[in-house]
Structures are given as structure tokens and as C-alpha cells.
């Protein structure tokens, strides 16, 4: 239930924006909420409902109706915001990616920031960022599946969005690492590591691992990349 003043108030966007609970449906009837806020709120609910609907019905069967029902809006409202299911999925993917990056930056900020220029040790920065990412995905396992899965052929824009996210996370990984490492790593290695990490976390959720936060030390070691361990096998 949202907490709104319902008796035809003066339109005050800032007040409503502050009081609208993002996941709750808007009150029925005349509520005096400005139309642009109603639209934004509906869109936010549809985007939030997308990953849950996908997890419940799978890529093979999920429909726009599943999403609109979960969001508490009509199918007509769904198509007012999105041309088709894949557009909504793209918005959900981009939103989840933005949230993930924000959580990592926030986690790194607590230990002095993402960049070595901001101080702090490389290993601590990496560990903090990974812990923050896993804590976020542990609470939102649907998003871990969404971000780590392979986008279907019918949604080529989603594949491009995945690529953008991988590049963004790879840049963060490069920033978090010791800059001296850059000279000896092939270009694109971080992208491969991020690809692997997204797939790994998604597979863990699919396998029913409910405590993603325990993966932190292992994932940190894996994302740190090849160490100076001497080669032994031929």
C-alpha cells in the first residue's frame, strides 16, 4: 500500500515522489498524483516485475501479460510503456546492471574508492567490490540469473546491453587492480574474467546456492587472474 494523501491534493511532484513506494500499486480512483509521476511509477513497477516473471515462467513461456499482472497494471499500460516483452526485458537488464555497478562503487568507496589513486590496497578494493556485488545479488537472485544468462536471439539489444555491462565491469576491475599489472595482461582479459564471473554467479543461483556472499574469497582469487605461480605442467 502506498502512503498517499488521497483527498485531491494540490499536485506536488516532489512530495509524491518521496512517498510513492516503488513496488506498491497506486491507489484506485482520483488521487491527484501528477500524470508523469504515475507513468514513471508504473514503468518502475513493470521493470521490477520483469525479472520475477522471467524467473517464474522462464524465457520459453514468459509473456507481457505475466509481467503486467505481477506489476499490478493492465496489458494496455504495459504496451503504453514498452513496444514488446523484449523492450521491457532490456530496461530490466539495464536497470539491474546500473544497480550492480552502483553497489560495487559504494562497496569500494567504503575502503577508500575504486581507483588506486584514491588510496587503499588493490586486494582490499577488489574484495570489497566483489563482496558488495554478491551481497546485492544474494538479495536479488533473479537479477543474478538475468545478468549472467545468455540473452535470447529474439532480443539482440539485450546482447549489446550485456556487452556494455561486461565492458563497464571490466573497466572497474582494471581500476581496482594494481596498475603495474596492466603491462603484462593481454587486452580483453578482464572482459573474459567478468564474463566468467557473471556466468559463475548465475550458475550458483540456478543450482540453488542461497548464500552467494560465501563465494567472496574464491571469486576474488579467480578475478585477480593469473598469479606469479611458476608454470609446472606442460
Amino acid at each position: 500500500m502506498s502512503h498517499l494523501h488521497l483527498v485531491n491534493p494540490e499536485p506536488r511532484g516532489d512530495l509524491f515522489e518521496a512517498e510513492l513506494a516503488p513496488s506498491a500499486p497506486l491507489p484506485r480512483g482520483r488521487h491527484g498524483i501528477p500524470a508523469d509521476l504515475v507513468n514513471a511509477h508504473q514503468r518502475r513497477r513493470l521493470v521490477a516485475a520483469m525479472s520475477g516473471a522471467l524467473a517464474e515462467h522462464s524465457y520459453a513461456r514468459v509473456t507481457a501479460k505475466h509481467v503486467s499482472e505481477r506489476a499490478g497494471v493492465s496489458s494496455r499500460t504495459f504496451y503504453k510503456h514498452f513496444g514488446n516483452l523484449w523492450e521491457c526485458l532490456l530496461a530490466a537488464y539495464e536497470d539491474a546492471g546500473t544497480q550492480l555497478c552502483a553497489e560495487i562503487e559504494s562497496g569500494c568507496a567504503e575502503c577508500g574508492g575504486l581507483s588506486p589513486l584514491e588510496g587503499g590496497q588493490s586486494s582490499t578494493r577488489l574484495q570489497s567490490g566483489i563482496d558488495a556485488a554478491l551481497a546485492f545479488l544474494a538479495v536479488e537472485p533473479h537479477l543474478a540469473r538475468l545478468l549472467g544468462g545468455q540473452p535470447p536471439l529474439e532480443a539482440p539489444a539485450l546482447a549489446a546491453a550485456r556487452r556494455s555491462l561486461v565492458e563497464r565491469l571490466a573497466t572497474m576491475l582494471r581500476q581496482a587492480r594494481d596498475p603495474a599489472d596492466d603491462a603484462i595482461r593481454p587486452p580483453g582479459l578482464e572482459e573474459r574474467l567478468i564474463d566468467a564471473a557473471l556466468s559463475f554467479v548465475s550458475a550458483q543461483v540456478a543450482a540453488g546456492n542461497s548464500d552467494l556472499t560465501r563465494l567472496g574469497p574464491e571469486l576474488t582469487e579467480l578475478l585477480a587472474g593469473p598469479s606469479l605461480t611458476p608454470s609446472q605442467a606442460r
Binding site: 524465457y59 564474463d195 608454470s231
Partner: protein
């Protein structure tokens, strides 16, 4: 079939009354399985209809339903058959390469050749299976686990104190798969060859450290140069 005959059927060898008919059925089944994967890899799982499959296989609707029952069942059978073949092929290439590092290289180049030659089938096996879900997705997990276990075999040669994390095999296999899927999604399967040096560095370095990673990265670059000299398109 009578009840008692059903009960003993699994112990009997299959008997074909008419070998020609049996061969034709097998050939049609094989063609249909290839057709469903090609259709799914081209149109997407959701958009693939039985009609689209039949247009590729040249078979009849009645035969299709007699052999498979549904699009979903047909995809599951086709997926199980082809992912098994691909897995066996890659593991075989690795096993006969003469060592772990050449084995990783052979398996990767074998995978890339398959992706370049059969991009539609590869898209069905690696990308659209995630849309299909169900038993096919379970087969995919099994195949990835077998590959991860094979790559993890090098642990025997590593000092336990320097052993990488337990999840390294799945991590590496997942990274390779994601890289291939990205090239397929971009509609440029030949692009996977560009990532060979990075992937060799990633896979070998994850187990054997930086020195081995750099050696394998260099070896992969040389392999790509030789391939280009032979007229191949390394991407």
C-alpha cells in the same frame, strides 16, 4: 504390443523387420534433429514452429509427430544428441593433443571451428538452450561439468599449496562459453578466433600462473598467424 512383451522388451536387441525402412527412419530422425537445431539457432526457440522445422528437414508433419510428439521433445532429443557429440569431440581432441596445455588449445580451436562452420547449431546449443530450459538445460549443465572436470585434471600436476580455487574449472568453462555466445549473438562467429590468445591466457593462467599464461598466449598468436597464412580467417 502385449503386456508381457512390453515387460521384456528392454532386454531384447532391436529387430528391424525391414532394414531399409529402419535406415530411412533413422536418417529422417537425424535430419529432423539437425533441422530443429538449425531452425532454433536461426529463428530463436520461441519463434520456431514445427512448420519451420519441416521446411528445413523436408519431412512430413505426421512423421514428425510420430517420431517426436512435439517441438519441445524434438529439441530435447536433438540437443542431447548434439551436445554429446560436441562434448565427446572436444574431449577427444584434448586427450590426443599430447599434454594438458596443447589439449586446452586443441579443445578451444575445435570449439571455434565448430562455431564458425555451424553457427546456427552452435547458437541453438549454447544460447537458445537457455530459452528452452527443461531437460536440455540440464544436459548443458552436465556437458559443462564434464568439460570443467577435464580441464581440472591438471590439478594432479600442481603443488597443493599453489592449487587454484575449487571452482576454477567451471569458472573457466563459463568464461569460454560466454565469449563464444557473445560472438554468436553479435552475428560474427568468426570473431571468436580473436579471443583465442586471451582465453588461453585465462584458462592456462588460472591453473599454472602468469609465466605459463604468457607462453600460451604467445603460442595462440602464432597459431592464428599460421592459420591466416593458410588462408583461414582468424577474425
Amino acid at each position: 504390443m502385449r503386456q508381457e512383451a512390453c515387460a521384456t522388451a528392454p532386454e531384447l536387441l532391436p529387430v528391424a523387420a525391414d532394414p531399409t525402412t529402419a535406415d530411412a527412419d533413422t536418417a529422417l530422425r537425424e535430419t529432423t534433429m539437425e533441422a530443429v537445431l538449425a531452425a532454433v539457432g536461426s529463428l530463436g526457440y520461441r519463434a520456431t514452429s514445427v512448420r519451420a522445422i519441416l521446411e528445413r528437414s523436408g519431412g512430413h508433419r505426421a512423421q514428425f509427430y510420430e517420431q517426436f510428439g512435439s517441438k519441445e521433445a524434438c529439441f530435447e532429443h536433438a540437443y542431447a544428441t548434439w551436445i554429446e557429440r560436441l562434448g565427446v569431440g572436444l574431449l577427444g581432441a584434448a586427450a590426443t593433443a599430447g599434454g594438458w596445455r596443447p589439449g586446452v588449445r586443441s579443445a578451444l580451436t575445435g570449439l571455434f571451428e565448430f562455431v564458425e562452420e555451424r553457427p546456427e547449431i552452435a547458437r541453438a546449443l549454447l544460447v537458445e538452450v537457455q530459452v528452452a530450459g527443461g531437460p536440455a538445460l540440464a544436459r548443458r549443465e552436465e556437458a559443462l561439468e564434464r568439460l570443467a572436470a577435464a580441464i581440472d585434471g591438471v590439478r594432479d600436476q600442481i603443488d597443493p599449496e599453489e592449487a587454484p580455487p575449487e571452482a576454477t574449472g567451471m569458472f573457466v568453462v563459463g568464461g569460454v562459453e560466454a565469449c563464444v555466445c557473445d560472438a554468436l549473438a553479435a552475428g560474427d562467429p568468426a570473431r571468436v578466433w580473436d579471443s583465442l590468445p586471451q582465453l588461453m591466457h585465462f584458462a592456462v593462467g588460472s591453473y599454472l600462473g602468469r609465466e605459463a599464461a604468457e607462453e600460451e598466449e604467445e603460442a595462440a598468436r602464432e597459431l592464428l598467424n599460421r592459420r591466416a597464412d593458410r588462408g583461414g580467417e582468424p577474425g
